[in-house]
C-alpha cells in the first residue's frame, strides 16, 4: 500500500465554545495501492477534502495513524495488532511507516512523495508568481533537485501537461482556466510523487476542458504509475477515472469496493440513492430522493449517521427520544388532534418518553397507522400505561461498522449485520 490510514479522525474545534467539535472525519480506514486511482465521492461537507488533506499532512489528524509505503503483509499485521489491542506490536509497525509525527526536514522529504491539485485553478496559483516559479516551487522547497535542474524539469513538465514551454514566463492571469489547471497539475507532479491528491480537479472547469484534463490525468498515471486519490462529487467522472470507489457521508466511509461493483450494484442505501441520481441515457431514471439535509457535524445522529434520511432504516439504527418527540407531537397536534386533547410529551432519557393524558391503546393505533410514513415510529419497542399517561420505550440502538461482503467490498450498514438481519427481516 502506498498509503493506509487507520482510525483517522479529525475534529475541528470551534473557537470560543468548549467541547464543541466539528467531526469532519471520524474513525476512517482507507488504503491506496501503488499506481491505483481511488475515487472518493460524497456530498459537500462530507469530509472528503479534509480526508485528502489529512493523508498528505496538510492538516494534522486529531487521532489515528497514517502509514506511508507499507508492505501489505505488515499492514495486515498492524490490523491484527489493532484488533487484539496489542499496542506494543502496533506501535512497532507504526513507528516504521507512520507519517503522523513527521516534522521539519523529514516532513519536507515526505512532501516530495506526494502532490495535490486543488479544485479552483484561479485561487490555487499565486497571482504574483511566474508560471515557472509556481511549478518549480515544490521541487526547490523539498530540495528534490538543484535549482538549475528544476528549470529543466519545468520545461519537461510543461511538455507533459501539453502547454507551450514559453508559458513559463507568463503570469497566471494570462492563462485560461483549463491552462491554469494544467499548471496546477504540473506543480502537483513536479517531484515525481507516488501519490497525488486530486481535490475536485475538474469541477471548476467547463465540460470540454474537463474531458481534456481527465484524459491528461489518465495518460500521466500510465506514464508515472502514481497512485491518485480522486475526490469529487461527480459520479460519472469517478466511474470513468477510478479503479476503486469510497463513498463518504458525514465524515464516515459508507461503502467501499471496486468501481464496477459499487456503481452497478450499490449496497448501502445511501450509495443506492446517490447512484440513482446520475442522469442516464435511454432509460427512465428511478430516482430515490432523500428527505432532509446532511446532519450537523457538531451534533451527529446516534448510531448510523445516515438513519434519519435512510429510506430503509431499521428500528435499531440509532433513533432516540429526541428524534421521536417532534414526529409524535406533529401527529398528535395535527392529524389526530381530536383524539388527544391536553396531551404533552416529556423526554425521560435517551430511550424513554412519557405522553401525558394519552391512552396507550390509541397511541398504538396511531403508531401502527403511520409507521409507513415515518420510519422513526418503527423504533418504538413498547407503549405501556402509567396511570393517566403512557410510557413509550424505544429499541436499543446499535452502531454499525464496516461489514465485509467480499474481499474487496465493505459496507457500513446494519442491514449487513448477521445478528440484526435475523431479528428484523424485511418483508
Amino acid at each position: 500500500m502506498i498509503i493506509a490510514a487507520r482510525k483517522l479522525t479529525k475534529y475541528f474545534e470551534i473557537k470560543g465554545v468548549k467541547n464543541a467539535f466539528i467531526r469532519a472525519v471520524d474513525d476512517v480506514d482507507i488504503e491506496i495501492k501503488e499506481g491505483e486511482i481511488v475515487g472518493l465521492v460524497g456530498e459537500s461537507g462530507s469530509g472528503k477534502s479534509t480526508l485528502g488533506r489529512l493523508l498528505i499532512r496538510l492538516i494534522d489528524p486529531t487521532s489515528g495513524e497514517i502509514l506511508y509505503n507499507i508492505p501489505d503483509d505488515e499492514l495486515e499485521e498492524y490490523d491484527i495488532a489493532l484488533e487484539n489491542n496489542d499496542e506494543k506490536a502496533a506501535k512497532k509497525i507504526a513507528d516504521k511507516y507512520s507519517i503522523t509525527r513527521l516534522k521539519g526536514e523529514d516532513l519536507r522529504r515526505f512532501r516530495r512523495n506526494v502532490g495535490i491539485v486543488f479544485q479552483d485553478p484561479y485561487s490555487s496559483l499565486d497571482p504574483r508568481w511566474k508560471i515557472e516559479d509556481i511549478i518549480a516551487e515544490p521541487i526547490i522547497e523539498t530540495k528534490a533537485m538543484k535549482p538549475e535542474e528544476a528549470k529543466k524539469r519545468v520545461e519537461e513538465l510543461l511538455d507533459e501537461v501539453e502547454l507551450p514551454r514559453e508559458f513559463k514566463n507568463r503570469f497566471p492571469h494570462e492563462l485560461s482556466g483549463g491552462q491554469r489547471q494544467r499548471v496546477a497539475l504540473a506543480r502537483g507532479i513536479a517531484t515525481f510523487p507516488k501519490l497525488v491528491i486530486l481535490d475536485e480537479p475538474t469541477s471548476a472547469l467547463d465540460v470540454s476542458v474537463q474531458a481534456e484534463i481527465l484524459e491528461l490525468l489518465r495518460s500521466l498515471r500510465k506514464k508515472y504509475n502514481m497512485a491518485m486519490l480522486f475526490i469529487t462529487h461527480n459520479i460519472s467522472v469517478v466511474s470513468y477515472m477510478s479503479d476503486r470507489i469510497f463513498v463518504m457521508y458525514a465524515g464516515k466511509i459508507m461503502e467501499k469496493g471496486y468501481k464496477n461493483d459499487v456503481i452497478k450494484d450499490p449496497q448501502h442505501p445511501y450509495t443506492i440513492a446517490l447512484i440513482s441520481a446520475v442522469p442516464q441515457i435511454k432509460r427512465t431514471m428511478q430516482r430515490i430522493i432523500l428527505k432532509g439535509d446532511p446532519p450537523n457535524l457538531l451534533n451527529l445522529p446516534k448510531g448510523c449517521r445516515f438513519h434519519p434520511r435512510c429510506p430503509v432504516a431499521l428500528p435499531v439504527c440509532g433513533w432516540t427520544a429526541n428524534e421521536l418527540k417532534p414526529t409524535l407531537e406533529f401527529l398528535i397536534e395535527t392529524k389526530y388532534f381530536t383524539e388527544f386533547p391536553n396531551v404533552s410529551i416529556e423526554i425521560k432519557g435517551e430511550r424513554e418518553l412519557i405522553v401525558n393524558n394519552a391512552d396507550p391503546e390509541k397511541l398504538r393505533q396511531v403508531v401502527n397507522a403511520e409507521k409507513e410514513n415515518a420510519r422513526v415510529l418503527l423504533s418504538i419497542k413498547e407503549i405501556a400505561s402509567n396511570g393517566n399517561s403512557s410510557i413509550i420505550r424505544l429499541h436499543e440502538y446499535k452502531t454499525p461498522k464496516l461489514y465485509k461482503l467480499s474481499n474487496s467490498r465493505e459496507v457500513y450498514c446494519l442491514l449487513f449485520d448477521p445478528t440484526i438481519k435475523e431479528r428484523f427481516k424485511q418483508p
Binding site: R53, I56, L58, L107, R108, R111, R112, V114, G115, I116, F118, Q119, D120, S123, S124, L125, D126, P127, R128, W129, E137, P138, E141, T142, P164, E166, N169, R170, E174, A184, R187
Partner: protein, 299 residues
C-alpha cells in the same frame, strides 16, 4: 521566439491597461500633476540647489528693513509675510522639508506596521493577540501629545519629530496589513505552498507580503497628505528646532498675527499644505482604481 515576444507584449499590455485606468480618472491625473510639482521641487532643492537663484536654499531670508507683510505684487507674486519674507521663494524652499519628512514617516511606519500585521496574522493565536493589543495601546496615544513629549525628552529636533510620528503611525498599517493578510492567507495558493513544503517565513514574505502590498501602497499615498498636515500642525504650534527653518506650517504661523490686515500671509502657505493633501488623496484614489480588478475589467 515569437512567443517570448508575445509574453513581453502581454506585460506591456498590462501596464498599458493600468495606465488607461489611471488616466481615465481626470481628478487622479490632476492630483498626479500637482504631486509631481511638489516632487520635483523637493528633488531640485535637495540635490541641485545651485539651479535655483537662492543664496540660502535651506533657511528663510528675513528682511528686517520692511518686516510688515506686503500684498502680492509683480516683485512678490505671493506677497510677503512677517518678517519681510518673500512667500514665493519661502514656499519653494519649504516644500522640500515637508515632502521628505512625510516620506520619512510614511515609509518606515508602513514597513514596521506591515511586518507586524503579517506576523500577527500568520502566526495567529497568542502572537496575534499580544501584537494587536500593543497596536491598540499605541493607537490610543494622541500623536501630537506624544510628539511634544518626545520632543522634550530627545530635544526639539526634526529627528525627534520624525521618531514621534513613526512611533504612532505604524499601528494604522499594522491593522491594515492584518485585515489584508487575513484575506490572503485563506486563499488556496497558501495551502498549495504548504503542500510544496515551503517554510512559514517563505510563505509570509514571498506569498503573503507581495499580495498584500498593493493596497498598502494606496494607503501610503493617501497618508502622505495627512502626515504633511500633521507636521505643519506641529510646526504651527511652535515645534520647530530653528526660527528660520522653511516649513509650510511655520510659514502659516508667521502670518497668523496679520490675518486681519494681510490675510494672504496665512492663506497662501496654508493653501499649499491643503493642495498637497488634496493632490495625494486624488492620486491615491486613482491608484486604488488601478488595483481594483473590477475597474480594470470595465475598460
Amino acid at each position: 521566439m515569437s512567443a517570448q515576444k508575445t509574453a513581453k507584449e502581454d506585460k506591456h499590455r498590462e501596464l498599458k491597461l493600468s495606465m488607461e485606468v489611471f488616466f481615465s480618472n481626470k481628478s487622479a491625473v490632476a492630483g498626479l500633476v500637482i504631486f509631481l510639482f511638489y516632487f520635483f521641487d523637493a528633488i531640485i532643492l535637495q540635490f541641485f540647489p545651485q539651479v535655483m537663484p537662492f543664496k540660502h536654499p535651506y533657511s528663510l531670508t528675513p528682511n528686517y528693513v520692511n518686516p510688515i507683510p506686503l500684498p502680492p505684487s509683480k516683485k512678490f507674486p505671493f506677497g510677503t509675510t512677517y518678517p519681510g519674507v518673500n512667500l514665493l521663494t519661502a514656499i519653494i524652499k519649504s516644500i522640500r522639508l515637508d515632502f521628505w519628512l512625510s516620506l520619512a514617516v510614511v515609509v518606515p511606519g508602513a514597513f514596521l506596521g506591515v511586518i507586524i500585521g503579517i506576523v500577527a496574522t500568520y502566526f495567529g493565536g497568542l502572537v496575534d493577540e499580544v501584537l494587536m493589543r500593543i497596536t491598540d495601546i499605541v493607537f490610543s496615544i494622541p500623536y501630537l501629545v506624544l510628539a511634544i513629549a518626545i520632543g522634550y525628552v530627545l530635544g526639539r529636533t526634526l529627528d525627534s519629530m520624525m521618531i514621534a510620528l513613526i512611533l504612532v503611525w505604524w499601528p494604522l498599517y499594522a491593522r491594515y496589513a492584518r485585515s489584508v493578510t487575513l484575506e490572503v492567507k485563506e486563499i488556496t495558493f497558501i495551502e498549495a505552498a504548504r503542500a510544496a513544503g515551503s517554510s512559514k517565513m517563505k510563505i509570509m514574505f514571498r506569498h503573503i507580503l507581495p499580495n498584500s502590498l498593493p493596497p498598502v501602497f494606496v494607503q501610503m499615498s493617501l497618508d502622505l497628505g495627512t502626515i504633511m498636515l500633521t507636521i505643519s500642525a506641529l510646526a504651527f504650534i511652535g515645534f520647530l528646532p530653528a526660527a528660520n527653518l522653511p516649513e509650510l506650517g511655520y510659514l502659516t504661523s508667521l502670518g497668523y498675527n496679520y490675518v486681519e490686515t494681510a490675510p494672504w500671509a496665512m492663506i497662501i502657505p496654508g493653501m499649499f499644505i491643503v493642495l498637497f493633501a488634496l493632490a495625494v488623496n486624488l492620486m491615491g484614489d486613482g491608484f486604488r482604481d488601478v488595483i481594483d480588478p473590477r475597474r480594470r475589467s470595465a475598460l
